[in-house]
Symmetry: C2
Subunit: 467 residues, 2 copies
């Protein structure tokens, strides 16, 4: 597997370490390190002692370190290794959202020390980003962008770009603002580079370039944002002034987090986690216990329903054999419908008609699959009951038919429940992925138990008088 | 919800439509349309008649249309609306991987017609990309990149960039090749822009910039690629010549597909799907039936095991009430462990020690949760059996104890199965997510049934002589 790449990584990291250890002259070292990707240097950095890291501040400089640190597994650890003023210098040249995150990770004491040395600009930006709630776009934006004055000429714009790119490296799209800082559009860097000096800047400005507002709910506009497939999108404040940008990396991170959560919820794990391996036992327990306790009591409820059929089972003990079969199958189709529905609900906001369409489709799938499996079940159950359990043929066929019909019924109804229940939850603003799981398991069990034993009572006892 | 954004989109699309309908002069229209994002124009495009679209070829030009088309829901439809030569012209200016995809979607007849007009370069690129299997990096790369000769000066490099950027718009990273076309490193566009004319290009080349090879397995190096968080990565052939690049969008798409598949597998749906709503009934059935049939027969097997305890149930009918409870709980913890394990296995390649660590952790979680729930169950079951079912207290307590211990046992063993089984599958190169589901459901059921009824036989009949 990944050996080849791992090998390269290790080799590169080793190379870098050797360089650092052997090169005395900072200037030479600086130039040598320019040959490596920030990520690889970050890997090497983690193998250095705090003293050695300190020695890299001069050759690498705050700006480069600011680009390298975010690639470290624990950037706050590395940062804390530097004296407060140097650490602050690094944060100053870092993307404001990343700087804010790292600061949060630091112990109170260290944080205050470093914050004291931060530039007015940086602490201002960090304050601004911290002022947004986690579900607002503003909380994930960065101030790492290039702003070009609307009135600039192509030549001036290019000069602005060169000047600002020292600080900000999101340059593939440039944003245009007027003298009030109001957002007026975007320029594709490619167009600026290809523009002749005499073309007016206005010609290459995309005036209707998409944007979001800082207080927009991330969840609500993320799909919309992804549609544009842009490397960065501008974020405006209430006054339509440009206050930051969303980068494609921010969007990617959000997407991965999102899909992980949907996945966890389907599995009945309360919240997403970054590392299931190093996670403390107690935490893992806490995550799963709530769901399990709910299920226990719902299960007790099912048990009491089964209890109502106790006598039937006492009379026709063979029935007990197939209860698990029918409950499992109902559960399986229910989960399939649930999974499909949750994903559809997560992907898009559905009109009523679409919902009904999905429900009817799921039910038809359940019915057809249920019928097919029912036929198979009839054969196998009849055979099993007659040949292995030595019951008479008619008796065996009656049991087989009972199992088959119950199976079909249960699978159809479970498909319906698996689709309708999450929709209802969604309708009332309850997260369907979380809430549906337990309820559906129970509903499926009830459906299965009642249709199975109910049918058994009706067919085997009332009609065929097996007892 | 997304109303505000949807509103903007609709408004913008309407604006564009109005423009197209009202502006007669192609030159004017062309300039006006420069003000809009490709995505928005794509939205408008879909509301136009083929004739109207044809009318846009002149003002927009093949290059712009090539950028717009990929944003359409059905680009092949839009493309087919143009005469073969114009359609070919559009494909010529499109990213080679996108062009290849769209061609595949076209009906045989149309495809051959258009392919006939394609430039030698494009058809060559498409042939190359088609020559890779779907699991190879080469199949998802594009030839949309800027290549700078190693020997160029900063000024010449800038000129090269301007020249090539007419065709290729992935410019944030430039790739450096020698006169043999061998890859020698990358240049961050920012550095080129900021470089003085007299600096030697070599100074700003990152010589150890990461790369992949065209025949690398996507699955194997994707994690490695993502680590670098780059907008694009170079792809080399066996001779280490630069043949293409991977873009961040390709990586994003792959990630989404990947997480969707893991999700589907957990739900027991055979393969990922792009649209669960418009998917034909038969297809949905086919996707789920295989898993269900497997489960049916595994379920039959479980039934026959339950059958072995038929007599015990006939004697102590109350037991039947709690079978579903214990099976469900075992299933739930099993699924939780399975979900965690599958994600861990998907994320990283684990050494044996880590695996054992995860197993032991999951087992401890199962044991602790099982014990807690067992205690609760003992109370509730005893109460239920005595008060609602009117059995004597000792009898009720015996049943309660039996359920409680079986619950604890089943939950612990299921946690083990849910962790160990996928690891074994993974070890032998079988996709754990697909294979584990059915097997674990069965194992959990067997574990639960045997520990429950086995315990009942031991405790209630052998020890307490309840019958």
């Amino acid at each position: 597997m990944m050996r080849r790449h791992e090998f390269i990584n290790e080799a590169v990291a080793a190379e870098i370490l050797a360089l650092i250890h052997q090169t005395a002259d900072p200037a030479v070292l600086a130039e040598r390190l320019n040959d490596y990707h920030d990520y690889d240097i970050a890997q090497a950095l983690e193998q250095l002692t705090p003293e050695e890291r300190l020695g890299l501040f001069l050759p690498l400089g705050a700006l480069r370190l600011a680009e390298i640190l975010p690639y470290c597994d624990e950037p706050e650890q590395v940062l804390a290794g530097f004296p407060a003023d140097k650490a602050a210098a690094i944060l100053d040249s870092m993307d404001s959202d990343e700087a804010a995150e790292i600061l949060e990770e630091l112990p109170e004491e260290t944080r205050r020390l470093i914050a004291g040395h931060l530039s007015e600009e940086t602490s201002g930006e960090i304050r601004m980003i911290a002022s947004y709630t986690d579900d607002e776009i503003g909380s994930m934006m960065t101030t790492n962008y290039i702003a070009i004055p609307q009135t600039a000429s192509v030549k001036e714009a290019m000069r602005e770009l060169i000047r600002q790119s020292a600080e900000n490296d999101n340059i593939s799209t440039l944003y245009v603002i007027d003298d009030q800082g109001l957002y007026c559009g975007a320029i594709d860097l490619k167009d600026l580079i290809r523009a002749r000096d005499y073309t007016s800047l206005d010609k290459i400005i995309v005036h209707s370039y998409p944007f979001v507002h800082d207080h927009d709910q991330i969840e609500e506009c993320m799909d919309w944002i992804s549609d544009y497939e842009e490397d960065s999108l501008p974020v405006l404040n209430a006054a339509d002034q440009l206050v930051g940008v969303l980068t494609v990396q921010d969007i990617m991170d959000y997407r991965e987090e999102e899909s992980r959560e949907v996945y966890n919820k389907l599995a009945g794990i309360s919240e997403g986690t970054d590392d299931d391996l190093d996670e403390p036992l107690l935490l893992s327990m806490k995550k799963r216990l709530p769901w399990l306790v709910i299920l226990l009591f719902l299960g007790m409820f099912v048990s009491s329903v089964v209890g109502m059929f106790e006598q039937i089972v006492a009379q026709i003990a063979i029935l007990i054999c197939f209860q698990s079969l029918i409950l499992d199958m109902a559960g399986n189709v229910g989960t399939q419908s649930l999974a499909v529905t949750i994903r559809v609900l997560t992907d898009e906001a559905l009109p009523m008609s679409e919902k009904l369409h999905l429900i009817s489709k799921e039910v038809r799938v359940g019915l057809t699959n249920g019928t097919l499996l029912g036929v198979i079940a009839f054969g196998v159950v009849t055979f099993y009951t007659m040949v292995l359990k030595h019951y008479p043929l008619p008796y065996s066929m009656a049991v087989g038919a009972c199992v088959a019909i119950a199976l079909m019924l249960a699978m159809t109804i479970s498909s319906f429940a698996g689709t309708a229940i999450p929709m209802v939850f969604d309708k009332f603003g309850v997260d369907p992925a979380v809430a549906s799981g337990p309820l559906i398991t129970t509903v499926n069990d009830l459906v299965a138990v009642i249709s199975y034993y109910g049918l058994a009572w009706l067919m085997l006892i009332q009609v065929f008088h097996l007892v």
